[in-house]
Point group: C2
Amino acid sequence: MMAGSEWIVDAHGCRAEALRSIAALEALFDRIIDDLRLRPVSAPIWHQFPGEGGVTGVVLLSESHLSVHTFPESGFAAINLYCCGPRRAWAWEIGLADLLGAQEVRVRVHQRGRAVLSDSSRAIERPH
Amino acid sequence: MMAGSEWIVDAHGCRAEALRSIAALEALFDRIIDDLRLRPVSAPIWHQFPGEGGVTGVVLLSESHLSVHTFPESGFAAINLYCCGPRRAWAWEIGLADLLGAQEVRVRVHQRGRAVLSDSSRAIERPH
């Protein structure tokens, strides 16, 4: 069975102050949620690491979840969006440049739930 | 810069009742957290979908996050563990067979944060 798509997004060269700002990251979540018409099932939860540290946040969606982890000291943000149904891609490069100042964005997309027995999957032998 | 590893785990053939049980999934989170000595920074949040639907849950970690999304109607669970520092692999096949009855487990691991300009990454041209 198919269980949707996951976007794994690495954003480099972001502004450190945006990566320390829950408000800036909440604006990012809001933009993605609005643009893709996602449906949150909870308020986002946030954790601010102490000192010059970054922020971790996640929101549960009817479609699965959206998360961000930031590393202000290296201008890096790791974002995941998992949608269990079909959903068009977001314009990650444009949105992340606009909202976080990202200068390089790498997007990888995974299909989840395909029961393919290939080299990278392993069937489990279970005792009877 | 390197920003850790993400395990993307697709578990097939799981027991439907385990995939509808927040208690069973919380036991899974607890086992992973204990075995890998992860440090939650919040209580897990859970959402139970109505009727015969599945469960979505996430816990924020000092190391990033652990999430699960279940699809009881097809015996499928999608699990993500993102650790921003080095961490040994969990025995996904054994643990998921034990706790959820998984019969086939596919594990993919991504390194996050590598600034590699390859075909799958795109530099953004920004106006000056």
